[in-house]
């Protein structure tokens, strides 16, 4: 499936070119027009019939990663986080650095060499480095420049019957769903925005819709799942396998109630499972999108991913299919006049 290429492509915030090129190539025959704006957002237009509404679908291309900030005399690469990274997960992971994907390993002092105190606390960025197998600074400088990004070297693969593992599911799963929508035939107009720099502050989404005038926007995301031991059900954010998660509220957005109600109605009518995202913290591109100019009615549909923002996230493929199905049926409902008469709330 195309999610494999998307997951394995490298696109840390601010360096989304590889992902953008991959998506552009995949969709170019299915859309009428493709633009890239000044920040790097990829915007694809699929024109429908003139009397039909326009839906803006948005997913972000960027992933969290590490920026190379220094090269030591020994040729080791020092780095700083880009986006929300749990530093406890970094040590000993395999990474790739820069556009040429130079392989490396995040190193630190081996356990044999540590004092007992050192084992008790997580390593900080000052103590971690990427080792690309070079011996000295000059040798590293031939391969790596300061400001280059590194990300996890994770192969996409299937686990069991309905689960896949990969990196950057936040938000390549959303990108994959948008691409599927573009590959279908519709009567309404779809604008698909593949945004940049979401992980460092919804920056691409702050500008992407300024020249667009959609009737509403749906943000398609990968979100955290917390259906794991030591979490009470009341504290679950989302559960794997329970269908797409609808946002009720997060730090960046109160979604448009008519749009959320319509999503629920469409899901019920078509027996598509869904759940609510119970966590009301964190934000998505929707936070920036819905406040564009005079405002855009906006909602968020997320696919639950366990171990998000780590080298290996898990996605349930049934959740993915149900998300695509919900988006498809929602578009069909809009084509039949859904939401045309709805007020603001």
């Amino acid at each position: 499936m195309f999610l494999k290429q998307l997951s394995e492509a490298v696109g840390v915030s601010g360096r989304e070119a590889e992902v953008r090129d991959l998506i552009r190539e995949e969709i170019k025959d299915d859309v009428d027009r493709i633009e890239t704006d000044a920040l790097g957002n990829l915007i694809a237009f699929k024109e429908g019939k003139p009397e039909q509404p326009t839906v803006l679908l948005a997913a972000h291309m960027d992933e969290i990663g590490l920026m190379i900030t220094d090269i030591t005399d020994d040729g080791l690469l020092k780095f700083k986080p880009i986006g929300g990274i749990d530093k406890r997960i970094l040590v000993s992971k395999e990474v790739v650095v820069g556009p040429d994907q130079i392989p490396g390993v995040i190193g630190a002092k081996a356990i044999h060499l540590q004092e007992s105190d050192e084992r008790k606390k997580p390593l900080d960025y000052g103590e971690l480095y990427i080792d690309i197998g070079t011996k000295e600074k000059e040798e590293s400088e031939k391969l790596v420049e300061l400001g280059m990004m590194a990300t996890f070297a994770t192969e996409f693969e299937q686990l069991g019957t309905a689960t896949v593992k990969g990196k950057a599911f936040d938000d390549r799963v959303g990108c994959a769903a948008l691409i599927e929508l573009l590959q279908q035939e519709h009567q309404l107009s779809i604008i698909a925005a593949f945004t940049v720099q979401e992980e460092i502050g919804l920056r691409g989404a702050s500008v992407v819709a300024y020249d667009l005038d959609p009737d509403l926007a749906l943000v398609v995301e990968g979100t955290s799942a917390s259906d794991v031991p030591d979490t009470k059900e009341a504290g679950y954010s989302t559960q794997l396998g329970a269908g797409p998660a609808l946002t009720i509220q997060d730090s960046s957005l109160i979604p448009s109630q008519p749009v959320v109600n319509k999503l629920i109605e469409v899901a019920d009518q078509n027996d598509i499972p869904y759940q609510f995202r119970k966590l009301t913290r964190a934000g998505t591109d929707a936070g920036a999108l819905h406040l564009t100019k005079e405002g855009i009615r906006t909602a968020v549909i997320s696919m639950p991913c366990r171990y998000i923002h780590s080298p290996a996230s898990l996605l349930n493929l049934n959740d993915y299919q149900a998300t695509v199905e919900l988006l498809t049926k929602f578009c069909q409902d809009m084509e039949e006049g859904g939401l045309a008469d709805e007020g603001v709330n």
């Binding site: 509220q249 109160i254 966590l279 100019k293 405002g295 855009i296």
Partner: protein, 335 residues
């Protein structure tokens, strides 16, 4: 005035669900304005045409109030929740709340939580009298919102109620529309904004749409006049507070001085407000598009964001007087 405020504060309107408040306000003012509309976010925008249309003045008071949102329903029918805006868990202990403007519930904390300093929203629940999840779900769905359930009371010359932040400001705008004896100097947009409490969001889109030259917010501020209070030179009953600064804005000095001059000329008591916590719609109006001259009239309030916010009636009346004087002034020094 008191009767209007009573209806305003006792109407259900947490951030994102301002419909009932909007309809109430619309009914109060629609016959007295030249144009009225609701934008995509739900802001209510009413225009009073001016004698001169060369400048646009935007006034903003927010309709929304803080509240709760249901995140989970337990098998036994208890509702778990998160906050909508700045709601202290301590204020919620023992409090009654109203979901969707109709379902009453009471709040308590989990029984095993003994250390009150660890009280958080996720250790609390609402009991709506349901005995099973199914029964609770007949009344409440995940994502439904609630507010404090309290009535307005007159205590001395002071009003006590939930939601005075910022229905008191809404009342000032409504009464100003009603009391204006002549056309305002410039085209004046009375904007009743949404989603202020979750990040001054309604003011972002309404400011963009109106593109004002001058923006004035009317909102509650805090005071420093209670026992062992944090230092703040604003007191209840000593007049509207002319904003100098809050976290969202440094007020345009010419606009601030205009307000001071008009207050002194018309013998309206006033105070100056430097608020070191919290932002307001003021900052959004100032930074919209190419910018606007922005300031605010703040109504002093005690116990803000609690179920029993307190304001002084004379402060309200003086806020209306000051705002009316501004709207009918020549805006000297601003343009």
């Amino acid at each position: 005035m008191k009767e209007l405020i009573k209806r305003l504060v006792e109407t259900f309107g947490p951030s994102g669900d301002e419909l009932a408040v909007r309809e109430l306000i619309r009914g109060e003012i629609e016959d007295q304005v030249d144009q009225i509309e609701v934008d995509t976010m739900g802001n209510l925008i009413a225009l009073k045409k001016g004698q001169d249309d060369s400048n646009k003045v935007m006034l903003a008071a927010h309709m929304d109030e803080i509240g709760l949102i249901a995140t989970h329903i337990e098998e036994e029918g208890f509702i778990r929740f998160s906050n909508v805006g700045g709601v202290s868990p301590y204020n919620l202990l023992g409090e009654r709340v109203l979901f969707n403007g109709e379902t009453i519930g009471v709040i308590d904390k989990e029984g095993k939580l003994d250390d009150i300093s660890k009280l958080k929203h996720d250790k609390m629940y609402v009991d709506i009298g349901a005995t099973t999840q199914e029964e609770a779900e007949e009344k409440i769905k995940i994502g439904d919102t609630a507010t404090y359930y309290r009535q307005l009371d007159l205590v001395g010359n002071r009003l006590v109620a939930k939601g005075l932040d910022d229905r008191a400001g809404c009342a000032v705008l409504i009464e100003t529309i009603k009391q204006l004896t002549e056309q305002p100097t410039f085209d004046t947009y009375f904007v009743f904004t949404v989603q202020e409490e979750v990040g001054t969001r309604g003011a972002i889109t309404s400011s963009y749409g109106i593109n004002p030259d001058v923006g004035i917010a009317v909102d509650l501020t805090l005071t420093g006049d209670t026992p062992e209070a944090k230092r703040m030179a604003v007191s209840l009953g000593e007049g509207p507070a002319i904003k100098v600064k809050d976290r969202s804005v440094l007020v345009n000095p010419q606009l601030k001085n205009l307000m001071i001059d008009l207050a002194e000329e018309n013998e309206i008591p006033y105070q100056l407000e430097v608020l070191d916590r919290g932002g307001t719609d003021t900052g959004r109006m100032q930074l919209s598009r190419e910018g606007a001259i922005a300031g605010a009239i703040s109504i002093p309030g005690r116990y803000v964001h609690s179920p029993s916010e307190m304001i002084d009636l004379t402060d309200l009346e003086n806020s209306i007087k000051l705002l009316s004087e501004i709207l009918q002034s020549d805006y000297q020094g601003l343009f």
